[in-house]
Amino acid sequence: MFKLEVLSKEDVDAIHSTALKILETVGVAIQAKEALGLLANAGANIDYKEKRARMPSSLVQECLRRAPQTVNLYARNPKFDVRVERGRVCFWGAGTNIWIIDIETGKRRLATRQDSFDVTRLVDALENIGQVNGALTPQDIPPEVAARYVHSVMLKNSSKPLWFPIDSRDSVEWDIRMTSAVVGDEDELRRRPIISFGTVCSSPLMFEEEHTRGLLEAVKRGFPVDVESGCMAGATAPATLAGAIALTMAEFLAGLTMVQLVRPGAPILANLWTRIFDVRNANVSVGSPEFALLRICLGQMGQYYGIPVMTGGLSSDSKAADVQSGYEAMSAFSAAMAGCSMIGEAGTIDSNSTTDPVKLVIDNEVSGMVSTVLKGLNVDDETLALDLIKQIGPGGLFMRTKHTLKHWREQQWEARISERRNWSEWEQSSSKDTYQRAKERAKDILKTHYPDPLPEDVSKLLDGILKEAEKQSSTRH
């Protein structure tokens, strides 16, 4: 197994003990009263006026012990089930962005309902992307109903594991209702949860009210969750990277503590996006080398805690699926080798603000390459092939042997869009570059791929629940 490390054991210990000290002395501001009550009952020191929870180390450590090392993500089609744990890597995309690159014009525009449908199908078809993590936020639909609509589109158009962001306790309730209708009922859904929920800490050290209420509800009802911490060094975290990691771990551990208090042993992923705030360019950054370095550290911290880590590696700061976005994806390799288990956000550029369907296809290719590297190799008599080498001898050819026939396919990953032919062959087949080849594949998939459909009656049931949810949102707003 790969073990890419940059932090020493002392470094890891120092970061962890700093995280604990942060939780004990500074604490976290949690806007949801019920979470404060939960923590108070477990021995945390609560200041109700400031809505601040200071957690003793013993409580945090105990909750850490309860958290499982493996998280199972289930899929409507069981062949797409994902086991998330150290040593395995799963790729995910394509985000909840409002912007998309139009596949015909190559220009950025606002996302539409059609795009949510298309992006879901694209992720469903791409063989190396394991989870559909959002499907845009269409702008041709009122904002208060957009998320529920997108989730219904995801349920209908992908049989892979799905991820839904938590807006509120209500949003979680509606998402569970819709998904229960798809699999039969909530008990069946709980047995094999085909959705997982994610919430985010507002760095530094704040948990918003509705997000927290939604988190507690999702955990109570038995769903896998991830708590995201994405503090930015220089802005919402210390400019020095070690401090940013310690702050991240404090934020995540606060979320983990709440989760484990609601349900001991609840499956939880650490969704860690510690990166820099680019001061020179006055913008957030996901493609900088600091984030690549931080991810290695975050992988190590995940190993230390025994919690699977979800993070970036495929997102780019570039405004196009171009060379920059290609070289920024190098960091997907180091993240995987450092033990990060879920790498995303496939298909995104513009610092995670814009989705590009063509980039989804490119990132699928990169994901295949990373998986291949991570597969490693077996060293044994068959693979060392000493007898064969003796047999072939100097000047011989291995190509025409039974051993090669038996093994070459499993030893060579099949590239889908990478150009690896001889120059004149490439030239004669109209000399397309990476972007053009990826675009062709994207368009081909969109023309031909239709995911496992839902039965007609289930689809109608789902639509009915969606309408109810929309009506409630509209009357409230």
């Binding site: 806007q31 912007w99 603000s353």
Partner: protein, 229 residues
């Protein structure tokens, strides 16, 4: 020469004294020293200098110099923010003594992150840059309910109200604010701008905002345009 005469010869004239203090004040802002700015502002007041002059030739001068260095990329956001903080530290001391002239020549900009949203980084950066651009910024904070924006419109008489929303789920609050301003008959008296990653030009137009921005530079440029329309 008598001892007295020698002493008088060494004294600087009053005009030069005030120049030195104001220069020191401007330098303190440029050096991002909030504590020192407070000290020197107090000293300037004690020396009998006019508050408006302390503001213009001390605080504003220093902030403008940092602004110039920001334009030429000698300094960046970190310095900009700290310079704005230093400026505000001095302004806090001067405020009670300033003449009405400031109110007439400086636009008030009320800024806040909408209800249900606790993101503040973008808002704080915009606030610092607006201060450096000469606005009188009143920051309402985060998770600000609609009624507080309306109250601020009534009481602070801003030129512009800016509402920031970072999430697709809270962007709808921006519409509620503009509607509430209209209901309170305040819509005509103030410009309304929206900002944040969840905002687009289409959304801004849909809700009837006067301006919008999703980036820092745009926010400042459009705010200045909006204030002068």
């Amino acid at each position: 020469m008598s001892a007295h005469a020698k002493y008088c010869a060494r004294l600087k004239p009053v005009k030069q004294l005030s120049e030195d203090t104001l220069q020191e004040l401007a330098r303190s802002v440029e050096n991002l020293e909030s504590a020192n700015v407070e000290t020197v502002t107090t000293k300037a007041l004690d020396e009998g200098l006019k508050p408006d002059q302390i503001l213009e030739d001390g605080l504003v001068k220093g902030l403008k110099e940092i602004g110039r260095k920001f334009e030429t990329r000698e300094v960046f956001l970190v310095e900009m923010m700290m310079a704005a903080d230093a400026f505000k530290a001095g302004l806090g001391i001067l405020e009670p003594y300033l003449s009405e002239r400031r109110g007439k020549t400086t636009s008030v900009f009320v800024l806040g992150t909408v209800a249900g949203d606790i993101h503040n980084l973008g808002k704080d950066l915009v606030s610092a840059m607006l201060t450096a651009s000469g606005f009188d910024v009143r920051d309402l904070g985060v998770d600000v309910p609609v009624y507080k924006f309306v109250e601020a419109a009534k009481n602070m008489k801003p030129r512009i109200i800016g509402a920031s929303a970072l999430m697709t789920t809270t962007v709808v609050e921006q519409k509620k604010i503009v509607d509430a301003l209209a209901s309170a008959n305040l819509r005509q008296s103030v410009k309304f701008m929206v900002g944040g990653a969840a905002v687009s030009e289409r959304w801004a137009k849909e809700i009837g905002a006067d301006g919008w921005a999703t980036g820092l530079q745009d926010a400042i440029k459009r705010s200045i345009q909006c204030a002068h329309v």
